[in-house]
Symmetry: D2
Subunit: 405 residues, 4 copies
């Protein structure tokens, strides 16, 4: 085992990471630095200070990263209309690179030689934290207690707490049967009855949204304004990235929007069931596609669509901090300076309907598209030549007797 | 102008194609063969016979192609989870290859030297009809009256009817302000107020579905069974492809499912606004993704996802009958023999929620995925090596001082 | 026919474009502006002035664009290791965007309403000129005489010259049986006996290179230095882009390097036989791949490799001036800031052998790659976990009885 | 350590794998089954029998797999024009799936519970062997001695031999300074002075080919006939796959063809220098591209080109036995039934020049491609419409003032 003097821990203030603080101190006889970030998980972060102090931690970092999170991670990702496996908006995945970055920055600032996290050895998060850390700080050491220790059941954890005077927070103790993760983009649920993909989720599992059934009987209309591909205004009012997402989460949640229930493929090789609430993100995805539909060139859009699944996999698999993600981002961002304008949406009981899009830079040309007389803007005779030349290779092959049916 | 003796026309029985019959007869002094197909557009096709006869047509083909349409075109397309530009289920596009194929087959059977259709020179359908025809019958001639004649307004058409004793069908004459196209997969709307992408569609435009607001207040649950990637049973009952789609259209439409309102990029170079109702297809897409989620290998699925946009463009652009579509289809079909099982769906006011999936060939392994003790099925220590080697190239670069942030 | 007052013609000074000057003047009763560029075709451009004057042209543009051509077109293209259909280095394709750009710029400067070129209606060049012109100057008109006039044989052209007192340049009149095109990147040959793909080219066709047989019996070593992905030095000496390519053309040609004989797929739908000499480009391609091999990240490189064929097609098809090419270029360029260092090459009778690569930013880590003891730089035990997790999905499927062989 | 009763070892008969036999017997107290295959490495395999017997092995498998290797692995791979990272023909990679398959088949036949191989923990081969084994036999155990034991230097190995009475084969003992691997497709060299990518390889390293300098002064012409994408005849004579490759290796090697010297990216994360001789494969690649150039549809070919790098990576990384490789293979194979005909090649001092291609199913249409009058086969006027519609989206954007330069 390497010699560790100081380790920076991604610390939630909850039971598991509190146990980790103690376990690190004991196992490595090292100092632990805690890092707790508000990325919109909806819980106070300040209480983590007292808990860390109680565990003997001297260097405690508590930070509000909500704006940075949305501006530098969520928004760039949404420029690509990113969805993993057709369904998942990557709410957990996209938060990890920021945490990894701050962990190694704090390690550098405090002279720590290692970082640690509370992710298990079966999931994607360990990969995301660690790939990010290694990519940004190649000499860093990583301690992943869940892969190393023998506290591999709730009972053993509780016993360890008792033995080590770790206060078990009973509020959290009323513990959900689900493993949850939340940030400004989403809240996720895994485990419990979800481990059977044939079973329907329970209504009281969901925390951020009402069910479509429970949503208001009248629709809500909103208008989102985009600047360079990013949501910038809501109903005409400029909102910061974090405020935009918070507001859309609230509005979306009230209208039963953004629930997903999927089986996804983890990078570590297994399939896993997950339920997600992503109200604001779901709205943003729909709106972004709509504003692109009138402002983005066809081929640029198709190129983005073809590259998107790979880009999504990179983020899902933990390669935000990689040369290939940066290269793809350069392509994506290069297309977005023309993506400006407004989209009107109708939200109703789980549905998001695009009911209008407008842009000063709209490529939609009513004259040319019109069924009415276009005054010569488009010469229909051109279509014959267009078709003939596109058909030429097919005709030459068919003349040779090649069969396509 | 080429010497045309006989031409096979895709004939709907409506006003426009009736005018075309007459115009072809007069312009080319040729015989016209009419071909009218039931592909589920929801109108009787038999009345086309009398209309054609009244126009002096001697060879009249009227065919029910509904099963062939769904089995050989819609179902193969759905194996790829095909969507054009993130939104459009290709309802019109996928019907054209079948029509093109029958047109040239009938031309061969009747000794015709040309085919004709009623698509305009601004749209995609001319391309789809003609590329298909040229690919299957390289020597065929194509007459596209809308690109050639001068009847380019409703008034001139009406005048032509009056001059030529063509009966104007007043039922259809109560004409919708929209240009519509329907088949078993969808009904589409273009034109009219839709030519302004900022304007919301009118509720009374939609014909196949109730609005989410008007849908029942209680959810409907259905279960779709898949065999080799194709929907085969509904609530346990085996249904033929066409019956499956018809039934899902009805159920979906009753529950406000399947409306889309988009601006799309046409192959001929312009953007166009379209509204679509695809109730059954929307359900099938969701269900197919769900059954794949437990039965399809991760990398096979990702490969399909990356190729899908290109496959969708091929269909949209009229290249169903092409070597590259066939090659892609071979890849897609090769992956589907394992896609078997059932998916439970909850339909409610426009929402489709996956509430269960099951398969005897499920790759979801609860033991391995579990947060609980897995009895050694998965060695968490493996993850450390997995991450380390995946990180190696990133660390080597970082040690050289390369920056990623 | 549109009303044309002034037209800018891409004028070589040769017979064909001289005829076009006259034909434009007569057909449109318009002024013709000639534009003649030195892009390294190896012929004097200044003589074009007197010829244009003799034809009554008043506005004559003669420009040396060699540096711009290599710097802004050839070099960016080579950053992607671009090859069309596995063989063609795009020598003709990459010159067209620059010509198109200058044509419309000169049209703007001279108040011309049209441009014209001497490319035929069967080739790719018409597409490249015109797509470029339309993309940069959407209101421009394009006149392509070869598609319009009836001078479609050598005899008719000669007759037209005689009728119109156009001097037939007898030096050029000793005319090659081939249609040729040259610029700093390559010289191409089409037509003549090449129209039979089964026939071998004749040795005396080739103009820029000796045959491998005729090349020196001793090898020549050179060293190319790269800066940000572009060739910057030769044997330690800094060379401008055009000088670099000129020098490598000479050295390569002397050593029998860079001949290609292929059948390629034209954008207009037919296959065509072409022979190409690209001595310098062939060397640069090999050298660029070699410097990337030690400096570029694996995944960034693979991403480039996967996108390259599409990028090559865009250039081949005439879409240099397009949003999608720009987006891809952004991705490509983003990867190149680390591509620095030197490559040693051995040139011998048509062969280019990489015999050394070095870079201060080399990612090749001898310690880690070594078969010898690496002192712990790489933990071989990590490989077991790496393999195990990568195999997990395959094992789960195999346990279900799925067959792969 | 798992309980191992019997293990099947990939046994070359050389020193390293002989040590492994003994080490396995001692470490696991298990029976060892040896498997030695002739895949064209150019060494007798029969002597392995006596060596294995001397080590106390009772079940000895010695097989000639040359035809199976070329027919079922090399040829399918060549249908895709497969090259890894622009240079490497995958000679080692493609042999591993066959070995892996036979190892687990022999394990099943002999009731063994494990397989073993002599690949190191730093290379790709361990991954290829093990991924293949796990994919085909998910319950198999894998023993990779080089990752486990402490015999990690030549000295320790020799000491182990002395201690265990393992005869050190002095012929092999005159040991090359290089780590080599050979089969019918290639021979590879790593290690030694090659570990410095700046150093040129030594001439006496190469074993299969003469240098271009030493090759004959007169060219050799050959003609390869293809059937369904596979090389079937040489100069008119039908040859089995293995005989074809053997013959082309000899001819190519005599003419200095097929040497490559590269730095490649290993799957385990590091860059590595390798030199390869692939005479026959290099010829086949060139010839296959040439026959495709006249028989394969443009878009089918481009699709293959775009997918090839991924397919190459799959093979390089060890995923031959995977659903995604099978899916890609289905696509590739689907395109090859039209790839028939002959290619003439000129081989001269390292150069392969295509000097003729012919096919009854050639898509090259001299009439259409001709610069001469084509009698109306192609209407040049069609090109205007083709260009206009392809330009439409670009013009609409340009009219809005969007800049591309």
């Amino acid at each position: 085992m390497s010699n560790i003097n100081k380790v920076v821990l991604a610390y939630s203030g909850g039971l598991d990471t509190s146990v980790i603080v103690k376990w690190l101190q004991e196992t490595y006889q090292c100092e632990v630095v805690t890092f707790t970030a508000d990325i919109g998980q909806g819980e106070e972060v300040e209480p983590a200070r007292a808990k860390a102090e109680a565990l003997g931690v001297k260097e405690i970092y508590i930070e509000d990263l909500r704006e940075e999170f949305v501006r530098d991670y969520v928004y760039p990702m949404f420029r690509a209309n990113t969805i993993y496996e057709g369904e998942y908006l990557l709410g957990t995945s996209i938060a990890r690179p920021l945490i990894a970055k701050r962990l190694v920055e704090i390690a550098a600032a405090t002279g720590a030689d290692a970082i640690s996290h509370g992710a298990t050895g079966k999931g994607n998060d360990q990969v995301r934290f660690e790939l990010g850390a290694y990519a940004l700080a190649p000499g860093i050491q990583v301690i992943a207690p869940w892969r190393d220790w023998d506290l591999n059941s709730r009972e053993k954890l509780m016993e360890y707490c008792a033995d080590n005077n770790i206060e078990v927070d009973m509020k959290r103790g009323k513990k959900s049967p689900y493993s949850m993760d939340a940030n400004l983009l989403h809240i996720s649920y895994e485990g419990g009855i979800l481990e059977d993909p044939a079973s329907e989720s329970e209504e009281d599992m969901w925390r951020w949204s009402v069910s479509p059934e429970a949503a208001p009987d009248t629709a809500r209309y909103i208008e989102i304004g985009f600047a360079n591909g990013d949501a910038a205004t809501l109903d005409g009012e400029a909102l910061s990235p974090a405020t935009m997402l918070e507001t859309l989460n609230r509005i979306g949640g009230e209208n039963g929007i953004g629930r997903t229930d999927i089986v996804e493929n983890r990078y570590v090789g297994m399939k896993a069931r997950g339920c997600y609430e992503t109200p604001g993100g779901t709205i943003l995805l729909k709106a972004h596609r709509a504003i692109e539909s009138i402002t983005l060139d066809r081929e640029a859009g198709h190129l983005k669509d073809e590259l998107m699944p790979r880009y999504a996999s990179l983020i899902y698999n933990g390669y935000w901090w990689s040369p290939e993600r940066k290269a793809l981002q350069a392509l994506i961002d290069q297309t977005q300076d023309v993506v400006n304008g407004t989209v009107r949406l109708k939200l109703y009981k789980g549905n998001i309907m695009v009911v209008g899009r407008a842009s000063e830079g709209s490529l939609f040309d009513a004259t040319i598209a019109s069924f009415e007389d276009d005054g010569g803007a488009y010469d229909q005779a051109d279509a014959a030549g267009f078709i003939k030349l596109n058909a030429l290779r097919l005709r030459i092959a068919a003349k040779l007797g090649r069969k396509l049916d």
